[in-house]
């Protein structure tokens, strides 16, 4: 692959890297695993880049490749299982955690989202990225109605996790 292509890719990835970091933050729970997944998504993006035609936004294209890698292609490394959580402690939510400061609330919310399954996380990710249901359904390969129904269920599920 030529240098020019490499250069334009790295420039775009550097600019939009936060998207990949957000996928990694959602699907991994420690520093090493985060870096592993980031590395794998970068390779998949780079491999697919020559076919990127620019008819969609680079960021939109990244959502698809990033999520596909996290949900389907990524093989969790051994260290993903062995190393400790970011917090260094097992994750348990107590109801009294959830009415403190906003920072505390966010911490608990992130933990709750981590408890969702891979597909639910993908829906939450796209929702948080302000994607409409059409784009969510196209990225995951499900119908728009089902995406909407599932999203409502996830919201309810999160409520239950947060207020057991």
């Amino acid at each position: 692959m030529n240098k020019e292509l490499e250069h334009s890719f790295v420039e775009l990835l550097e600019k939009h890297q936060n998207i990949v970091h957000k996928v990694c933050r959602l699907y991994t729970n420690n520093y090493d695993a985060h870096n592993d997944l980031f590395q794998e998504i970068t390779i998949q993006l780079w491999k697919a880049y020559p076919k990127f035609r620019g008819d969609s936004k680079f960021s939109t294209w990244m959502y698809r490749v990033g999520l596909n890698t996290a949900i389907t292609l990524y093989r969790k490394s051994k260290r993903t299982i062995k190393t400790q959580d970011y917090e260094g402690v097992a994750f348990k939510i107590k109801s009294e955690d959830y009415d403190d400061t906003e920072e505390q609330q966010l911490k608990v919310l992130y933990k709750a989202v981590h408890q969702l399954n891979d597909i639910e996380k993908a829906l939450v990710f796209l929702y948080l990225e302000d994607k409409d249901y059409r784009e969510i359904s196209e990225t995951l390969g499900i119908s728009e109605v089902n995406a909407r129904v599932k999203m409502n269920r996830i919201k309810k599920k999160l409520k239950t996790i947060l207020n057991p």
Binding site: E6, F9, V10, E11, L13, E14, Q17, N18, H21, K22, F38, Q39, E40, T42, I43, Q44, W46, K47, A48, K51, W61, R64, V65, L67, N68, T69, I71, T72, L73, Y74, R75, K76, S77, E102, Q105, L106, L109, Y110, A112, V113, N117, D118, I119, A122, V124, L128, D130, T139, L140, G141, I142, S143, N146, A147, V149, K150, K155, L158, K159, L162
Partner: protein, 210 residues
Amino acid sequence: MDELDLLKKDWNKEKEESKLSAKDIYPMLLKKSSSIVKTLFYISIAELIFWTLVNVLPFFLSETYRTQLDHVYTNKTILALLNFFSYAVILLFIYLLYKSYKSISVTDNAKKLMESIIKTRKITKYYVLYNLVVAFLAMVVGLYFGIQQNPDISNKLAQAGSTETFIIYASIVSFTAIFIVLLWLFYRLIYGLLLKRLNRNYKELKKLEF
């Protein structure tokens, strides 16, 4: 306020500690992927080579085997046809695998990507299954002719009663079948472990259709 709306406020904040520079990204492009598609690819190539060698090597390496084959297949046309068939099957599987791998695209939607991988895995599965069935038949037929052509054993068998003969043949078939089934379970375990997460996520997506 919705829980997720609260999260949204924080979501787009860039975390400085994880920010990478172009200098950090360049070396990443040179690293090798460790995706399940890559692993699946290596496993299917290994299987293709292994089973092709199992089929082909005895013929080229052992003269006794060739003589025995000549003995069993007195009709040369049948032997040629069988050879042609087995090479055609190998070529067909190589073609199907190649086509299937080509159709796996990381830019497809999640469900389609999973389906392409599952389809590829199925092709390898059928190839292994085909070889196991052939191996089973070859072992049973081989043992039968081996017994027939060995005067000591065939004489003893001729003296034995029909029940004993039946038991001997039934045991041969059962042991061969057990051996083949164990091999099959071993394959299932390897693929099961490799594709556990994919299968779980695929089921979850399928569930949304109802």
